[in-house]
């Protein structure tokens, strides 16, 4: 077999993806179940000319990657729920100042310190609305190591393309289970490099002059241009402004550069949806149980299909609406109290047909758990 075939845990798949994408700076504070990312990065980055810093907490970790990104590096941090909470203020700053960065949140049970060693998908809405103020965000997820590798590469690409933080969300089970990962050859997956300004030094440089495609050419901080970066509403030079037109345009720019591209940002996998009367919508490792249910259901003549979401935010409402159009029942399979179920209900024409199959006890959701919900909804009892 190829030396590029590995048998690794999910956190290493994430690290391999980040290195493939060209990460050269990592700042973080280790926390279960994400710690192996920091551990691996602390060895791999310095060996490849990058920088690894273990910070004193997650607030400073987030701030450090923002600073490093401004100087021109591809950057990331990784954490879990409690750390992700601490990162929210600086995450908002990165959104406002349009700073490319990747934040990995390996979800464990919460709230608070919760269930450190067990899985959950409780941070889906936190990824969307954890930081204050109107904003848009991109959050990706995956259910296999190969998909996690690709989602991580894509996260860096989208961060650079849209000058935005991108969140990679996955659960403890994926983080710690081991399975096959085949590393793509260099060049197999497209990589997006930072768009840099052509404006030479000594000339008026407008760092926040947006292009119609939503991108902003950057100048490496500390290089030839001096410019202002702020979390306040700002004009095209980066200086604070309360001018209503400037404020209005900036918020619309921050929102539209992501939300109007929902279709482009959307990524999903599907199984046997063509004639499905029972549609299972899932993401992350619960999608593996949904797949098991659908495969077995098909073997016994039941028309079960799976829609696995790989982009959670912006939520692909149109896709979900189309897929559910002809479904008799829709069951959202997730490990929380229905965070994506609510999105699905808001997206479809017949929300009363949408049900939830969940587990929130730290145990991984079993195919049997999903089967029980299908039986109940179909009126067959438990």
């Amino acid at each position: 077999m190829s030396e590029r075939t590995l048998f690794v845990h999910g956190n290493q798949a994430c690290v391999e993806g980040a290195l493939y994408a060209g990460v050269s700076f990592y700042a973080g504070y280790p926390i279960t179940p994400s710690s192996e990312i920091a551990e691996e990065m602390s060895v791999r980055l310095p060996a490849n000319g990058g920088r690894f810093i273990q910070m004193e907490d997650e607030i400073s970790s987030m701030c450090a990657i923002i600073g490093a990104s401004l100087t021109g590096r591809k950057v990331m941090t990784a954490t879990s729920g409690p750390g992700f909470s601490l990162m929210q203020e600086a995450l908002g700053y990165a959104i406002m100042a349009e700073i490319p960065c990747v934040i990995v949140n390996v979800m464990r049970g919460g709230p608070s310190t919760g269930l450190p060693t067990q899985g959950s998908q409780g941070d889906v809405n936190q990824a969307r609305w954890g930081t204050h103020g109107d904003h848009a965000i991109i959050a990706l997820t995956a259910s296999t190591h190969q998909a996690l590798f690709e989602a991580t590469v894509r996260a860096f690409n989208l961060a650079e393309t849209y000058r935005s933080p991108v969140i990679v969300l996955y659960d403890e089970l994926l983080a710690h289970m081991r399975e096959r990962l085949t590393l793509p050859e260099p060049g197999d997956l497209p990589l997006v490099e930072r768009l840099r300004t052509f404006v030479p030094g000594g000339v008026d440089y407008r760092p926040y002059l947006a292009r119609s495609d939503g991108r902003l050419p950057m100048s490496d901080f500390g290089g030839v241009h001096r410019y202002n970066v702020t979390g306040l509403y700002h004009d095209m030079w980066g200086f604070p402004s309360t001018d209503p037109v400037t404020v209005n345009d900036l918020l619309h720019h921050l929102h539209d550069k992501i939300v109007v591209r929902t279709g482009e940002l959307e990524s999903h996998r599907e199984y046997a949806l063509e004639d499905a009367d029972t549609v299972l919508i899932s993401y992350g490792t619960p999608a593996r149980s949904a797949m098991q249910v659908a495969r077995k259901g098909r073997d016994s003549g039941h028309r079960v299909g799976v829609l696995e979401l790989e982009t959670l935010w912006p939520f692909p409402g149109q896709l979900v609406r189309d897929v559910c159009e002809k479904a008799r029942i829709v069951i959202v399979v997730e490990m929380n109290m229905g965070q994506i179920r609510d999105q699905v209900r808001a997206a479809v024409r017949a929300p009363e047909r949408v049900f939830l199959a969940n587990r929130v006890d730290g145990e991984f959701i079993k195919p049997k758990d999903i089967g029980t919900v299908i039986r109940l909804v179909d009126g067959h009892g438990v």
Partner: protein
């Protein structure tokens, strides 16, 4: 598809044994394996368990509910997990540390795995590789060569774990698993 649970107490190298088997299957045979694990908060002494599913096609659900094969290298693990075996399955235990319970519906094999590592190989920490050897002979789920390669890659070309693995291959009473499962 073959589902295995390897169990014991923390420090016995249970998880490493699962990883070696997974590497042998995935890296050296190009087939599929998924391994998950759970262990107590203790560094040593708590229950250690790894679930391993081996197949010739993609594996979706990663945990093992009912194992075709269960290995228990400690009495605590045996007592806690003997209901996780599929009735009629194969149960392999360490002769020194585990007392068999006849009520467990399985083909139970009690083998001197730890004693062999301690007394014959003078290397108690290699009991896990000895156990891997036993498993490979009894199940035929992976080629011995693939496991040797995985051990060489992980530990080094002349590592004593290779001898422990080879000794384990001989320690087993022979192949007991029907090939149809694999």
């Amino acid at each position: 598809m073959l589902k295995l649970i390897l169990s014991g107490v923390g420090g016995q190298g249970i998880i490493t044994a699962g990883v070696i088997l997974g590497e042998a299957v995935v890296i050296h045979e190009g087939r599929y394996a998924v391994q998950t694990q759970s262990y107590g908060a203790e560094v040593r002494g708590g229950l250690a368990r790894t679930d391993l599913t081996i197949a010739n096609s993609e594996i979706y659900y990663p945990r093992v509910e009912q194992a075709h094969v269960l290995v228990a290298l400690h009495q605590d693990a045996y007592l806690r997990l003997n209901r996780s075996i599929r009735p009629g399955g194969i149960l392999i235990v360490d002769e020194t540390l585990v007392t068999l319970d006849a009520r467990v519906d399985a083909r139970q094999f009690s083998l001197p795995i730890i004693r062999t590592a301690e007394e014959e190989l003078k290397r108690p920490q290699a009991a896990n590789m000895c156990m891997v050897g036993v498993l490979v002979t009894m199940t035929g789920v992976v080629e011995p060569d693939s496991v040797s390669q995985a051990i060489r890659t992980r530990f080094g070309v002349d590592h004593p774990n290779l001898e422990a693995f080879a000794r384990g291959l001989e320690l087993a009473p022979g192949r007991v698993l029907q090939s149809s499962l694999v």
